[in-house]
């Protein structure tokens, strides 16, 4: 029996996660500053830092005291931190979780405020732990091995997506469970509406998406599709760090981009499509060393062209509206894109050891 890794109670919580996460990206025009709590990158019970992104929206310098409150019973220090920003500048302000507890729903309510320029800006945000525990899954389409992962659940147009990750020294693994009415598999001749896929971007910590086509992609980007035969899946490598953004912006045929080193299985049961994959660290090791505690960036798009359209993890985790970028995701033939480009692919992620 394959399930969502979610009890009904957790599903309700997941809905709350989604609602709150969606709201977190909201910025009022009059606000002098935008604030956003970043994902946690290791389970909170281990006492990690929680970082707040603060962006000055004014055309003059901005100073504020930033404070944060976590879930009930948590201890976070210090009570507030000062920040001084040039016009348009964004900075990370870190607080230490001295006492925290993991929650199975992986949804942590935070309240963050910035008090400056005569205004207090307050945000309530549910934050997820975006972290891959160490594990060596068999890539066979059976999601039962993923119970030790830390799943992130989000809803778009009433359909759930659950993203789980694992790592070991040799592979980065991912299970994306997509609730959808039907699965449109990959074909050499893409149907007019496009086909279903999961697009993944992985990039080193502190990399940034370029703004012009002559820059390099500075990321690894993959596409997972179903072949429609048994548990068959296929992986295409859309970008490596040296790929130019001009190449990324051109809708390419997928066939020459097949990445045989990845293991992929795609199964479908009870209205859910499971994309399971392992991508070798071999080619990424120089940029992202697979060791405990390492942070990097990851994001995912779920392509469901005959259903919800594109489901953007960056949107679910509350990236700001101005973080959309046409150069953040590779174009490919068979994709159906929304009018607006997706959000940037830089969501902070971590390699952790275990939730136990």
């Amino acid at each position: 029996m394959r399930t969502w890794n979610l009890t009904p109670r957790r599903s309700v919580l997941a809905l709350i996660v989604w609602l709150s996460m969606g709201l977190s990206g909201h910025v009022t025009a009059a606000d002098p500053v935008a604030i956003r709590v970043e994902n946690l990158t290791v389970p909170p019970s281990t006492g990690p830092l929680v970082s707040v992104q603060v962006k000055n929206l004014l055309e003059q310098p901005y100073q504020a005291a930033v404070s944060i409150q976590g879930p009930s019973g948590w201890q976070i220090a210090p009570e507030r931190r000062g920040v001084a920003l040039a016009p348009g500048e964004t900075r990370r302000v870190a607080f230490a979780i001295e006492k925290g507890r993991n929650l199975a729903a992986n949804s942590y309510p935070f309240e963050v405020s910035a008090d400056g320029a005569g205004t207090t800006v307050l945000r309530k945000q549910s934050v997820a732990c975006a972290s891959a525990p160490y594990y060596k899954p068999e890539i066979d389409g059976d999601p039962s091995e993923w119970k030790d992962a830390i799943p992130i659940t989000f809803l778009i147009s009433g359909k759930k997506t659950v993203i789980s990750t694992y790592w070991n020294r040799r592979q980065f693994s991912m299970l994306v469970a997509v609730e959808e009415d039907r699965l449109s598999p990959y074909g050499q001749q893409p149907p007019p509406a496009g086909f279903d896929a999961v697009q993944i971007a992985i990039s080193p910590e502190d990399s940034a998406t370029g703004s012009s086509q002559d820059q390099k992609a500075a990321r690894f980007e993959f596409l997972l599709v179903a072949t429609g035969v048994a548990n068959g899946g296929r992986c295409f490598q859309l970008a490596s760090p040296e790929t130019t953004l001009a190449e990324v912006a051109r809708a390419r045929d997928l066939a020459p981009l097949q990445y045989a080193d990845a293991a992929v299985a795609v199964t479908r049961e009870e209205g859910i499509t499971y994309y399971e994959c392992s991508i070798p660290f071999r080619s990424m090791r120089e940029q992202i060393r697979p060791t405990e505690g390492r942070e990097f960036f990851l994001s995912a798009l779920v392509h469901d062209p005959d259903g919800t359209g594109i489901r953007d993890l960056g949107e679910a985790l509350g990236l700001w509206p101005w973080q959309r970028s046409a150069l953040a995701w590779s174009r490919w033939k068979g994709a159906a894109w929304n009018e607006k480009p997706p959000l940037d692919n830089k969501l902070r992620w971590g390699l952790c050891t275990s939730k136990y």
Binding site: V42, S45, T46, G47, P48, L49, A77, A94, A96, E98, R101, N102, L103, A104, P133, Y134, Y135, K136, D148, N168, R169, R289, T291, E292, G293, R294, E295, G350, L351, T353, S354, K355, Y356
Partner: protein
Amino acid sequence: MTQRFAHTKTTWAILAALVVCPMALRLSAADDIGSTITAKPAGQIVMKVVMIEDEDEQPAAAGKAAAAALEKAMGGVPLKAVLVSECFEDRQHKQELLEGVCSALPAQLVLGGATYGSFAQSGCTDYDSVCLLGIGGDGIGVSTALVTEMGTSKLVLEEHQDLIEQRLQQAGAKLAGNLRRTDRDRLLILLADAHSPKNQYLVEGAQQVVGAAFPITGGSANKNAGQTFVYFQGKMHQDSAVALMLSGDFRVAMAGRQAKDNDAVIATAKTGAAEAMAALDGKPTAVLAFNCAGRRGKLKNMDDELAAMQQAIGGQLPLFGCYCAGEVGPVDASEKQPGVLCGGSGWHVMFTIIGRP
């Protein structure tokens, strides 16, 4: 007649063992209690560290090479205990590594755990490697103990906090209670399957026996799936903890520092090591550093933290360091409890300097 003579010799041998080495009987009487050897006042204390990195996926050879290097480093001084930190992948490779170590050293002296890597004066490792601390000399006594089936390795705090607390406190008390105690016990080293923050409960249990003010250090074993083992008398154990009590007329100075970002990790490595060195007020013999793998994960360059430590301790003193899933020692100020010297925590580097006036 010959048979009777042989029997008499055996009897004398047993009696001699009872007089000369009473702990050997204790060792055979209970398999979870290690050897204890009395420390001679002003006697010799030798602590040496070797580290071997294996780039050929030959764990047995690496273990054997490390053991040989340790024997050589000890300079003929018989070993009393060998502390192991290793980060080979998967049970089979770990088993081969241990067999390699124990092919050249007495298995009953070998204890330790799987970690996320090790560091010594020669550098830092985060992949297949082994680091050995050899302890020997007639001036230092050792007592070791093992507790198994703690029943907490797959429990999570959000669902089982009370059970975890109860079981680990019991395990800690049992572990410390099984140690052979002397009036010159100086330092307790704990290595356990107890990912931070669980490790605090194990320490609390040990403190029920040794007291809140007793110096305790150590680390939690690698918690990666399939990698969690502690080692006792050369054998692998899961869901377990081991203890090593050191006794003698030496001094122990400790300092713990917590940090969670690159600059703070480097800075606290230096200030923590310097504080411990200053507190020793004597000539150091060796440095133990149980460090957090999470701290390492925040470093842009893994070697920067070691370089900072070396600014405080120099480049010659034997340094046994390992990256753990939780650390035991004097917790940083914000977590400190009044009257309690040590605790279990995370994101710390816990320094212990052993030395003499």
